[in-house]
Amino acid sequence: MTEAKFPQARIVTERLLNPETVERLLNQIITVEGIRRIILNGPRLPSTIPYGPARNVTNPHSMRGMIKVGDQEMELAVHVGTILLELESRDVIPSLKAACDTVFTEFTYRVQEGRYMKTEPTLSDYAKYGPDADKSIIGMSDPKSKTGPVILQGIK
């Protein structure tokens, strides 16, 4: 869940991103002051095939790599196509664009302002996750997931 008072932005690229590009971008983004939360969105890349005739067979995929952002290592579970950001203020957007400019040199991208994260839990959220679910991540990620959010040390 996010607080409605914080502005949000998203970075949409012309192509789905390789893990190396995501790593470069995030390492640029974390140097920008005033970003509260980042969600990496895109189609999921499961480690085993979830259904079909080859169910449970391992699914090696070059887009599901380990990336290192700042000091933190994390495994990508999606083929990143959209990056949602919760900002402290709208003033951050120009520096966000500057960070993107250094990374996206071979294809285009857009930084859009809008509301992309949930601000209120829905009835389905209540039914799915129960009354004691971690409200801070409802609407961003699955609160039942064993892997929690990655905390990046900012520059504050």
Binding site: R15, N18, I49, Y51, P53, V57, S62, M63, E106
Partner: protein, 254 residues
Amino acid sequence: MAYKPQYGPGSSTIAANRRKYMDPASKLEKVRDVTDEDLVLILGHRAPGSAYKTAHPPLAEQQEPACPIRKLVTPTDGAKAGDRIRYIQFADSMYNAPCQPYLRSYLEAYKYRGIDPGTLSGRQILECRERDLEKYSKDLVNTVLFDPALTAVRGCTVHGHSLRLAEDGMMFDMLQRCVLDKKSGIVKYVKDQVGVPLDREVKVGKPMDEKWLKAHSGIFHSLVGVAFRDDAEYVEYVQRVHSLRTKYGFMPKE
């Protein structure tokens, strides 16, 4: 005057391509050579070289009932031998892939016999007797209807048609059945169509360049190709069909 089928309306290159692909009289240009064995590996229905499994005895060995239709229709090779029904399924990217699901079903219905095409928004499945399937699949993979990057053989987990392409130009595939070799620039299948890893890689050639794709595209796309609205004849035709369908219950008179 004898009726001459037109196959489709439109004055754009897309419309011309669609007509060309659908017309059974026009021979599709062959652009790659995937061997029979390679294709059998990608399909994953039988081991290369093994016998075809059968669903019933060959027609010559079984008593056929006296039926005028059976006398009229010559069975295909697969039906004659009593092969099982197997399938091939394609996912086509909307970023100028040469063929598209609806178009596939149309052209297959015009060109091939004994088939059951199934059309969905982003994928198209072709079911027929195994022997016939291999013959038809070879046609579909080796000719202009296929592009290694934007068309993929996917038995399941087909999502990719409407997604943005990856940085290397490949259509998204959750199972990454085919990969682009950066050194040689050739696309290789490393899994069969349902995602089971292959014993050896199957090369399907280099992805076609942008110019070729634009010239052979089977889909309108306002950003990367020809916009649908630019083809006035096509728009007029589609609007006419839409209008007549809507008025159908009221006995339309033109």
